[in-house]
């Protein structure tokens, strides 16, 4: 073994033994630094004969490369070890709770209103609105409920002592039906009495002076109105079937129309929906049977409807011989209860955060037809 080889091996051993970056650097300076042992050997190469140089050159250069490589490798190993040590010292207990982001909730009535808007958008119904503080002409008279009509007394109306500029009594609307009047009058005005097809729903707050376990003085209704030239009760039935099945998201729902009376429709029908009983709860749809003792399935009333009374169309300034159509009205709170299983109407208006978290909806659960209204997606 030559001297150079001995020197080389000596350095390689030192590199291998270097415990930290500093000592490794000292070894580098000693070996291959400007005045390092190997560097000095390289300098004497110039003084050699070409023959000697040819022999010694590769040996010395080789030693330098080997030592330089070894230093680099050792340096990387030391750095990795140092990093690992630091990382180990930086351990955090990731089971500790993270700062909380607060998620709020959407009230079921708002969610259901959005669902209704979506269903009826697909059928071409626009959303109309009107004031809740109404005049008695739009709430009653125009709807063919004259002052002395028994139906007026049945409405449990909240009145104000005030009268408007036309000396009409002001009240809280007892139903969303005055929006029908407003919509038809607006159309009559805009078309100068000629009229045009109308399809609207009108969701909103309504009021009756009634308060018990199943009634609150304020509640929500949705009104539907279709005016056109050849609309008949068959269209009404189809629309209601489509709406109810879409809303409850099942096809096996039966509807039953029963003759009834509303002054603003003629003919009039109350609409029952078939329900079954499962685990003591009423489920809309199904075979109308009871499943586990107790109550049997059957029919329950969910809305009132009918063909718009010609007098109402006339009161709005449209020609009842040309235009006809249907209207319906339905309680939104009740729809929400039937679909989502709340059993206490009064809780809707209490603002209890526990209730809101239980029955409320996530902000991003926007009802869509593609995702299924309640966001469950298509059946597998």
């Amino acid at each position: 073994m030559s001297d150079i080889e001995n020197i080389q091996n000596d350095y390689l051993a030192k590199v291998e033994a270097a415990a930290d970056i500093e000592s490794l650097d000292a070894i580098r300076v000693d070996a291959i630094g400007k005045k390092g042992e190997i560097s000095l050997l390289l300098k004497i190469l110039g003084k050699m004969t070409p023959e000697e140089r040819n022999v010694q050159g590769p040996i010395i250069n080789g030693a330098r490369t080997m030592i330089a490589d070894a230093i680099a490798a050792r340096k990387e190993a030391l750095e990795t070890a140092a990093l690992n040590e630091r990382l180990a010292s930086e351990w955090l207990d990731m089971s500790l709770p993270a700062p909380q982001s607060h998620s709020g909730s959407i009230h079921p009535v708002s969610q259901v209103m959005d669902e209704l808007t979506e269903i009826f958008a697909d059928l071409g119904f626009a959303v109309a609105q009107g004031p809740e503080v109404e005049d008695d002409w739009r709430n009653f008279t125009a709807l063919n409920i004259p002052e002395t009509h028994p139906a007026r007394a049945m409405h449990d109306t909240f009145y104000f002592p005030d009268k408007d500029a036309q000396e009409r009594e002001m009240l809280l609307r007892t139903h969303t039906s005055p929006v029908q009047i407003r919509t038809m009058m607006e159309v009559a005005k805009r078309t100068e009495g000629k009229g045009e097809p109308i399809r609207i729903i009108a969701p909103g707050r309504t009021y009756r002076s009634d308060s018990d376990a199943t009634h609150t003085p304020m509640f929500h209704q949705v009104e539907g109105l279709v005016i056109d030239k050849a609309i008949h009760m068959g269209h009404l039935k189809w629309t209601l079937e489509t709406f109810v099945r879409a809303f409850f998201e099942r096809d096996d729902i039966e509807l039953r129309l029963r003759p009834s009376y509303f002054p603003f429709t003629e003919p009039s029908a109350e609409v029952d929906v078939g329900f079954s009983v499962d685990k003591g709860k009423r489920i809309i749809g199904g075979d109308r049977q009871g499943k586990e003792g107790g109550e049997n399935g059957g029919w329950m009333e969910i809305l009132g409807s009918g063909m718009v009374n010609p007098k109402v169309i006339e009161n709005c300034g449209l020609d009842p011989n040309e235009w006809q159509g249907f209207a319906f009205g339905c309680g939104i709170d009740r729809l929400a209860m039937l679909k989502y299983g709340m059993d206490d109407l009064r809780a809707f208006f209490d603002g209890d955060l526990r209730w809101a978290r239980h029955y409320g909806f996530d902000a991003h659960d926007v009802p869509t037809l593609s995702g299924g209204l309640s966001g469950k997606g298509a059946a597998a």
């Binding site: 049945m154 003085p217 269209h235 063909m307």
Partner: protein, 838 residues
């Protein structure tokens, strides 16, 4: 409207089962409300005979009975009734029987040490009457062992249907029978036949001798008194008449256009016959006396209210007239009503006695000692009755019928039926009938095209069937041309047009025959169905919820006390409670009340919002409703946690942050809003503000709630609140979807920091606005990154550090450029008293 099955069958000849009848009632628009059979509760009670009655060994007033109920048992019953004697046939209930009139279930027991098994019942215990002085004594030949329900013919189901306001004809049993007959459930008996049956009912119960004994003038016998023309619907009776009719008249042709009356002299009032009492009781009416019961019965049977007067109590003649203002009537319900001159009364020389068509008077009504009776059968105008009833807040069976409209052509028949019943039950001699005035019986007709049934009703019913249905309901159909002329029966005041005819046909045909038909698909499929405001409302609702707020829906009305802090334009005349009286002009009261309830339930952190309207009055007296989003934050903003060890509270900047988040979602550039005061008196004056788009356009108010308001709502701890006025937010003007083209700046922006010394009451927002405005071409943003008071800063001053972002356009900034911009910034800030720190 309640009636019994046997009552219905007085008018309806049918083999249909009870369930067929009740299902059909609902199907034709007479919704079944309930059905019950009074016999069900009476099944365990049997006709039984007292075999022996001995003195109770330990009690003077008690007896020891041995009772045979036909079962072979010999029941030992201890009984205190004075009439409990050997041989009496009465009604027995064995142990285990529920006794409805006493509300208990019989158990075998010991009374004064003697065993008693079962009970002999009084009428009160069976809810037959209030009689409780003795036990029921049946005729001796009553069959022992027979169910009392069968013996007393109680097995008569009571049917309750809901009659809609348009079906005035179904406010009487006969009208219901007519509807059922039209729908194929049996046939309607002629009126005369139905009435004959009634009278023969009477014969069965009330022995002829009784009546003849006290009224010898008709001793020739009942069947000779009244001749019934049972084949005809007109001239149904031939009542023997003695003397002129009473002198009655109407001076109020508007309120009471017709006033018919007959007198019957020499009657004996008393209990009405059992069949009548049973029917009245079955539907929940208390029998009073024969004369009163007869009028009630005819009203329920035919929807024809009547009234009976004791002629001895009338002075002079009866007249229907308008009341004098202030005139008072003591009505049969024991209450006195003050009337006005829009109301119709029946009066005599002494004054008003009846509130016409609504309630009779206490003074002139028929009683047990009535001998001569006047039966009133008038036509009161529906609108007039409705107004009077509403004003007096007085309802009655008569009002319900008159205001819906009774059959104006049924006065004479109704009066005759009542007269015949009075003669049969109470005896006496009838007078001629006085017919003062005339009811509006003019024939009315509507034109109708038979295809309207399918074009409106959606059911194709062939012409022959349409005619059949209409005729069965009493309509006349003239088919001589394509457009039919249909005569409306006098009892169908509600029928005014072709749509009404369609309803009659399809309800009888059955709404289940309507086939669903799809709505024609709208041509303009891409049109939005919600208005921009509705879209905005939906978006902001979900933004609020996404930012951690829980949506509530609170009453639109608040108490006057709450309104005191917020004001209110609309105050209810008839609130349901004082707490729900004033239409809110702020969403905060409702949210604050909900906050209080939540804190009371232990909630530590309350984040609530509501989107709803505030209610104001417009100048023209109409309603001005403003859509608003309200927010309340209270309790912990963050709970105690392991990092800080402390909880943190909400502060006014949290309210500002919530408002800015929501306004940003609404498309408002919040950096451009003006921050001004005047948030309202319910806010802390130093910790609240408004955000405005211009000096007058307030988009939102927010801040800490005023301690006084907080106390008024009973909330401990700080409350942050905000209201965002959705109607003030500008809506996008353009519906175009295309955006302006985008060219990113080619040069990087530059940041420079400045520190200013300024008065601590100088609003930082103004400094920032001044800096932003100092060189709009180059300055794209300025934000505060430090605010400091204390060492090195003079008292009453603060140090504000601002980072300014500069955006070079065509070329990088030179040193000269930067100096020039800095100078502009320093000058602008200096105008507000801010001095650059060295």
């Amino acid at each position: 409207m309640k009636f019994t099955l046997s009552w219905l069958k007085e008018h309806l000849e049918t083999d249909a089962s009870l369930s067929e009848i009740t299902e059909k009632l609902t199907a034709i628009g007479l919704e079944l409300e309930g059905i019950e059979n009074p016999a069900d509760a009476m099944r365990p009670f049997t006709v039984a005979k007292i075999i022996s009655a001995q003195q109770h060994p330990n009690a003077d007033k008690l007896r020891l009975l041995s009772v045979d109920d036909g079962s072979g048992n010999d029941w030992q019953v201890v009984c205190g009734a004075p009439n409990a004697a050997e041989g009496l046939v009465g009604v027995f209930a064995p142990p285990g029987t529920y006794v409805p009139g006493a509300d208990f279930t019989i158990k075998a027991t010991k009374i004064r040490d003697v065993e008693s098994v079962g009970m002999m019942c009084s009428e009160k215990e069976l809810e037959i009457s209030d009689e409780h002085d003795g036990i029921i004594a049946l005729p001796d030949d009553a069959p022992i062992g027979m169910s009392y329900a069968d013996y007393a013919q109680l097995d008569d189901p009571v049917i309750d249907v809901s009659v809609t306001p348009n079906k005035q004809d179904c406010m009487g049993v006969r009208g219901i029978a007519r509807d059922l007959a039209a729908s194929g459930i049996g046939t309607l008996k002629p009126l005369a036949l139905a009435t004959a049956n009634l009278l023969s009912n009477t014969v069965r119960v009330e022995p002829v001798e009784t009546r003849n004994a006290q009224d010898p003038s008709t001793s020739s016998g009942r069947t000779d008194v009244i001749v019934i023309n049972s084949d005809s619907d007109s001239e149904i009776f031939n009542i023997p008449r003695f003397g002129n009719g009473p002198d009655v008249r109407s001076e109020d042709s508007e309120g009471a256009p017709a006033f018919y009356a007959t007198t019957v002299k020499g009657v004996k009032n008393g209990p009405s016959p059992t069949w009548m009492q049973q029917r009245l009781r079955a539907i929940g009416q208390n029998p009073i006396s024969a004369l009163v019961d007869i009028t009630n019965y005819v009203m329920l049977d035919h929807g024809r209210p009547l009234h009976v007067y004791d002629m001895a109590k009338i002075s002079g003649n009866l007249v229907a007239r308008k009341a004098k203002t202030g005139e008072e009537v003591l009505a049969l319900n024991g209450k006195t009503y003050a009337l006005d001159d829009s109301m119709t009364v029946i009066a005599d020389d002494d004054g008003a006695h009846d509130i016409g068509g609504i309630m009779g008077g206490e003074k002139t009504g028929a009683g047990d000692d009535t001998v001569d009776v006047l039966i009133e059968c008038a036509y009161f105008t529906p609108e007039s009755i409705a107004k009077t009833g509403q004003k007096l807040m007085l309802t009655s069976d008569a009002r319900q019928r008159f205001e819906r409209g009774v059959d104006p052509a049924f006065l004479a028949d109704g009066l005759d039926i009542a007269t015949a019943l009075v003669l049969e039950i109470c005896g006496g001699q009838a007078s001629e009938m006085t017919k003062a005035g005339a009811a509006p019986t003019q024939e009315r007709s509507v034109t109708y095209r038979p295809d309207h049934c399918s074009t409106l009703g959606g059911v194709d019913v062939d012409s022959a069937e349409q005619v059949q249905i209409l005729e069965a309901l009493g309509f006349g159909v003239d088919q001589t041309s394509d457009i039919w002329t249909i005569t409306v029966p006098t009892w169908r005041r509600d029928i005014v047009g072709s749509a009404d005819i369609v309803e009659e046909i399809i309800r009888i045909k059955g709404l289940d025959t309507i086939a669903p038909v799809a709505l024609p698909k709208s041509v303009t499929v891409a049109a939005a169905t919600a208005t921009p405001v509705q879209v905005l409302e939906r978006k902001l609702r979900r933004t609020a919820a996404a930012s951690g707020l829980n949506e509530t829906i609170n009453w639109s009305f608040i108490s006057e006390k709450e309104a005191a802090h917020f004001g209110g334009d609309w105050v209810l005349a008839n609130p349901i409670s004082e707490d729900l009286k004033v239409m809110r002009t702020s969403l905060l009261p409702g949210l604050l009340s909900a906050t209080k309830r939540n804190i009371g339930r232990g909630a530590s952190s309350v984040r609530l919002f509501e989107i709803g309207r505030r209610y104001f009055k417009a100048k023209d007296g109409s309603s001005d409703e403003k859509l608003t989003l309200g927010i309340v934050l209270s309790g912990d903003k963050t709970a105690r946690d392991w990092q800080s060890g402390k909880s943190s509270n909400f502060n006014p900047y949290d309210a500002k942050s919530a408002v800015q988040t929501i306004l940003s979602a609404a498309g408002v550039d919040v950096s451009r809003l003006m921050v001004m005061g005047d948030a309202g008196a319910h806010y802390h004056p130093g910790q609240s503000a408004t955000l405005r788009l211009g000096p007058k356009n307030i988009l939102a108010a927010f801040g800490a709630l005023h301690p006084t308001a907080q106390k008024a709502f009973g909330i401990k701890g700080d409350v942050m609140a905000a209201e965002i006025y959705l109607d003030s937010i500008p809506l996008p003007k353009s519906r175009a979807t295309m955006r302006s083209s985008y060219a990113p700046p080619s040069l990087q922006s530059v940041k420079r920091d400045f520190a200013f010394l300024l008065d601590e009451m100088t609003e930082a927002g103004k400094i920032i606005n001044a800096i932003r405005g100092a060189d709009k071409a180059n300055i794209t943003d300025a934000r505060i990154f430090d605010r400091f008071a204390g060492e090195g800063v003079p008292d009453g001053n603060i140090s504000l550090a601002v980072e300014v972002k500069l955006q070079p356009r065509d070329a990088s900034f030179t040193d000269e450029d930067l100096v020039a911009i800095s100078d502009k910034i320093i000058v602008s800030a200096a105008k507000l008293g801010a001095e650059l720190r060295g």
